[in-house]
């Protein structure tokens, strides 16, 4: 069991950092004390790698094609997902829709709260101090850094995920996607569009 924990992975070249050693050591101590098992940790890694990251695009693609689901999703994101068969674990999901008048963007200024069970791990930029510092105060300048420019006629609505709720953006469905399957629609609903720093492109 201990051999497996210490086995360096090919993608991680070079000696392990002190923090990597610390993290592995803590995990082993916790396992030895019977507080967790290696299997639990492996299972979480699998979920984060394979399951969670695909969900957001599928949920929003479904909302684009099914008005009743869209309505339900906007009313109660967690309930709509549960009814559709997706367990979002602890995430209290609120879905916010972009309209021709309003563009939504999400941040957690205090740490890195993010709907992980819907989108997987947050990108490094979302967790970065400069995103957390700046997007609440100068959202248009920040969006521009991501290549997203919105006219003054569109209001920017920033959501600071600072307590118990989690957010996903329902982008505007672009022209030219009429008749697309949900799978095709999901393919343009990238993670960045669901956090609000990018717009989906047909």
């Amino acid at each position: 069991m201990t051999q497996e924990h210490a086995h360096p992975h090919p993608e991680d070249e070079g000696p392990p950092s002190e923090h990597e050693i610390m993290s592995r050591a803590m995990q082993e101590l916790l396992e030895e004390k019977g507080l967790i098992t290696g299997e639990q940790v492996r299972r979480r890694m699998e979920l984060f790698e394979q399951e969670f990251p695909q969900r957001g695009s599928r949920v929003v693609a479904h909302a684009w094609t099914d008005p009743a689901f869209r309505k339900r999703l906007l009313e109660d994101g967690k309930a709509a997902c549960a009814e559709w068969g997706l367990d979002l674990e602890a995430d209290r999901l609120i879905a916010v829709e972009n309209t021709p008048q309003v563009h939504n963007v999400v941040v957690c200024t205090l740490c890195s709260c993010y709907p992980r069970a819907l989108l997987g791990m947050p990108p490094t930029w979302y967790k970065s101090e400069n995103y957390r510092r700046r997007v609440v105060r100068e959202p248009r300048a920040v969006l521009k850094e991501f290549g997203t420019v919105l006219p003054e006629s569109v209001a920017i609505r920033v959501h600071d995920s600072n307590a118990d709720m989690r957010y996903v953006v329902v982008p505007l469905r672009p022209a030219g996607t009429e008749g697309w399957t949900e799978e095709q629609l999901a393919s343009i609903l990238t993670r960045d569009t669901l956090v609000g720093v990018a717009l989906p492109r047909a």
Partner: protein
């Protein structure tokens, strides 16, 4: 029972649309009310529900009694002096009831 993003909050001080002000306070310890909205005025956007108080959970207490959490909408130009975006830009945060006063 279907999971929900929200929890019930039958006993609450505020309702959707009401104008509120975030307390201007700087207590030590774990708080989920960012400094940038303290002292600012906004409106209740939605009631999230009653949850255990994170300020207590952070220290190993059970966070009871639960506190009501609200989403509050602020106009950006009310939050930041010299805000450079559009006049209708807004920012929305989750604020616990004990951090709010009627405005």
């Amino acid at each position: 029972m279907t999971p929900s993003a929200y929890a019930p909050a039958p006993q609450r001080r505020f309702n959707v649309g009401e104008r509120v002000r975030v307390k201007q306070a700087d207590p030590p310890g774990h708080r989920r009310t960012p400094a940038y909205v303290r002292g600012k005025e906004g409106a209740i956007e939605r009631v999230c529900g009653a949850f255990p108080n994170p300020e207590e959970l952070a220290y190993g207490f059970d966070g009871e009694p639960k506190r009501v959490l609200y989403r509050v909408r602020f106009h950006q130009h009310h939050v930041w002096p010299g805000y450079e975006g559009a006049p209708h830009d807004v920012i929305e945060l989750e604020i616990y009831e004990h951090w709010l006063e009627a405005a």
